[in-house]
Symmetry: C2
Amino acid sequence: LTVAAAAPPRILLSTAAAERLGQRIGAAWGGTAPTFVLAEQVAPGADFDLAFMTRDVTGGSTKYQVLPATQHFHDLMRNAPSLRWAQTHSAGADRPVLVDLMRRGVTVTTSSGANAAVVAQSAVAGLLALARHFPQLMAAQRDRRWAPLPQGALPRDLTGQTAVIVGWGPVGRQIGAMLSAAAMQCIAVRRSATPRADGAVETVAFEALADVLPRADWLVLACPLTDRTRRLIGAAALQLLPQGARLVNVARGEVVVEADVIAALRTGALAGAYLDVFEQEPLPADSSLWILPNVLLTPHAAGHSDGNAERAAAMFLANLTRWARGEPLVNVAA
Amino acid sequence: LTVAAAAPPRILLSTAAAERLGQRIGAAWGGTAPTFVLAEQVAPGADFDLAFMTRDVTGGSTKYQVLPATQHFHDLMRNAPSLRWAQTHSAGADRPVLVDLMRRGVTVTTSSGANAAVVAQSAVAGLLALARHFPQLMAAQRDRRWAPLPQGALPRDLTGQTAVIVGWGPVGRQIGAMLSAAAMQCIAVRRSATPRADGAVETVAFEALADVLPRADWLVLACPLTDRTRRLIGAAALQLLPQGARLVNVARGEVVVEADVIAALRTGALAGAYLDVFEQEPLPADSSLWILPNVLLTPHAAGHSDGNAERAAAMFLANLTRWARGEPLVNVAA
């Protein structure tokens, strides 16, 4: 990826992002000041070279339900003839607009890693809450009932339980570190069966997932959505889990077959789940997942944290400096 | 502590414990088979040398509300002229009956450590649930509302936050290990300012608690109840915390001044709390703690787990072998 650094780029930004980051963008670019194209002030057809889609742009939209301000930003990107690079604040590039831009030859970069620690902490929060029977105990709290768990329904010792962690990127590895500190066994599932150099965790390739599912007290999904991971966890995979296993999904809703997960929760084959992502978002009000026992559900919020905006901005600025120098960008989506 | 090993001891047990452990107790003793005094079959005044108070004995009783079967076991111990040693399944020896036995010269041993990992996991579960705003998110789930946290009310980055952990025994150290894995800073507060050899964590003595409270995003109580820790956390300590700090108490209710904690939660000086222990247990139905926002409350259940009974039994059996050999017992309460 090279660029004629002499020409300062026209950069599409929200007005809020331009106000917050304008000076730093100029400094990161280094040459003649870039031109800011403010999304709220132009119509589709306006031209620019780069776009930085910050969280204030996606706002309350989901991948499936796009609000007007978000749609406008998408339309601007779709109709800018000179657009060559778009960076998103999100960890994934699975929103349709980004997929379409990539097909058109636009370089799309993500902020993968910016909220990885946060997502990992949420995943572990959900896992521990289920392990410690918090849903039942919180229900008793709401009723002002002092109700210790009866002898026959005690939580199982977590120490020594096994978590199969699908996806061994920044999120999966940090989940692994926290669960290992809780004396759990972790098995990493990733593209290759070769363990990463930074850890001695047992590692298998995606193709060998079925071999390790029978050992999974917890199946933790922390992978990107790709052709390989789409609908990876359906009835066949769920049937390989030991009775009473539990599911954590902080990846993407499409990594599971949601109807199969619901069925397994109904029969008790799955004893519980912490789910942050869904096949449709917002999760429809008539979904059984809202009310199934032992299901903790958060609204694709596992990665939300007050430090993300700054981390994503820093990633964009570092990439902008690389772009100005004609160096390869980081976090290029494929 | 020495004993005439020739004389097989008379051991007070519940019938359930005798059935479960009788053979192993005989093997641990090693000599002529001990006599089992079954609590359900004798009246106060019955004599015995040892007692093992298992969890089935304490059952649904608390330190403050003693049910009849538990009271009977207490009465037996109080009235056995030859009782020299009593072991409890619990981590603490703060129940009045045990305190009274110690005053009388009976050696009391605890099962300290048997459920330490479990308590630590519960403490971290509560901390992470609060950090990730689970109480609000669970309320939305109950209403089937897809309600991501608004930009102005995002959870704070947990990475880099500081936990002041009061008590650096088996529970505190395991909490520290898990929080360190989440990239939090930990400060240990213990009897001595000398760090334990097994870690490089910043350490201060109880007397210096006030010096570190201003740095505590989280104040985590994991200490035994002693004269030094009783009412350690009252208004004066709470006022030293930074605005918005949060409290985790898996120690004992009397380590805090509960009215002061409630007042701090009401003003928002404390932004939340995970409380497993209370000044009175069961927590009275009219306590504000049941319904204050951002309070997670469990019924002295942080240590409950299906593996505890076996771990506590193994500890008793190991001590029994020591007793038979005239060796010093482990986990002697002072």
